[in-house]
């Protein structure tokens, strides 16, 4: 398996097959014995921003802190909870209960939910 080609930027779906973002980053674990292993995949706007440019990453981090939305880390899904499928990674989590959906929830509550007919 080629991590960059096969895992990074791949679609993630939750236990209900609901799309819950892409693999924005990988967290590797180095141990004394054996090669490094993937410990987590990261999902979140902060990791995305850091990949675009470190400065953009710092801006986003500051903005997130000011809004009290997130800490200085993106949401991490342990590798053990992921099963690679042909077109996606299936995660054994409920998307609605993770910070991955915090922007969705915010938009739903403050903007879209207030428009009649939503």
């Amino acid at each position: 398996m080629d991590l960059f080609r096969d895992i990074l930027d791949k679609q993630i779906i939750d236990h209900d097959q609901r799309p819950m973002g892409k693999v924005d980053g990988l967290v590797l674990e180095f141990t004394d014995e054996g090669p490094p292993r993937v410990a987590y995949v990261e999902v979140g706007v902060l990791t995305q921003a850091r990949r675009l440019h470190p400065r953009l990453g710092r801006w986003v981090a500051r903005w997130l802190k000011k809004r009290g939305l997130e800490t200085d880390e993106s949401f991490r899904i342990p590798w053990a909870k992921l099963v690679p499928m042909s077109n996606a990674l299936a995660a054994a989590v409920d998307a609605e209960e993770t910070p991955v959906m915090s922007l969705e929830r915010w938009v739903r509550r403050h903007i879209v939910g207030r428009i009649p007919g939503a």
Partner: protein, 404 residues
Amino acid sequence: MKKAFEIALGIVTSIGGFLEIGSLTTAAQAGAEFGYQLAWAIVLGGLCVIFLIEQSGRFAAVSKHTIPSAIRERFGVRYYTLLLVTLVLVVLLVLAAEIGGVCIALELLTGVSYQWWALPVAFVLWLLLWKGTFGFIEKGVSLLGLVTVVFIVAALKLHPSWGEVASGALPTLPGHDKAHYWFIAVSIIGASITPYLFFFYSSGAIEDKWDEDYIGTNRAIAGLGMSFGALIAIAVLIVAALVLLPQGIKVEHYSQLPQLLTSVFGYWGFILFAASLGIACFGAAQEISLEVAYFVAQGYGWNWGENVRPKKEARFSLVYTVVIVLGAGLTAVGLDPLKLTVLSMALTAATLPVSVVPFLFLMNDRSYVQEYTNGFISNAVVLFIVGLSFILAIVSIPLQIFGG
């Protein structure tokens, strides 16, 4: 039986959806200034869009991926973001032009200036996406778009010399206004590919759960639908060459456009023109607003789909809402719809490599399309036309803007 129906519906909606303000205006300008000489640009643009649509459908049917999602996966978040920014900037101008087209149709019918119509039109556009099931509306508007076939009737009634039309299908060097000739050629090619239909098309194929069995269906829809669509654009060019050119009218203002049909059909020509323009542009505006929302949702891995209620996918709904507001805003502040149209079509041509080149990589990648990779011709035709229009665009856009 079901497949025959799907093919028929696909072809009919492609024909009805082909014409929009871009193809209409650029074909009319070409005919009014250069007669049949620029017919080749419509042929090239049509050919390119046939290949792109066929590839997009094949890609979705085999890989079960939408194109934006695959571009993100294969080329990473940086390239995806570059493409997103480019697409949004160009598409907002195109959307403003399409909304402008609907508003002009309403101005023609009511006499109330187009700017006043921008917000009401945007509201109806948004409401249909918000309330409706997209697929149904989109197909409905495309079917109504068949009214644009009236241009073919008009062209036939004018009895053009078909030999001369055919000779226009081969590129020739212009005798006058050289810079403007190439600029219109670029705009025509851009107009046949905008509104980035090939991105949109892969989403439909995924939603209809296409598989390898649909490759033939897809080829028929792409080939026939887009060819007939391009014929309408050629009809517009013929009518403009026979009606506007002899009078020396150069299409510098949209109020000159209804003459295309009034000269043939009289009063009803006026009504038919307004209906064609309004419906065609409305359909295109719908597709573009949705397309941006699809592009963002598929690239960021959100839920997306025709029948998702706004509250179930709030970010998706927010994207098309913002896009419509911005597009209508550009129209409402009074940017000239005609200039906006021609410029946005040329910009489409100039930015095509950014979206088409990675797409071609995907079409040749066996991990996505298995044994259904592009053949030599599919690759060569698209690369040649996109490359040519890119070169023409970067040369002729500055000449057009700064050369007066």
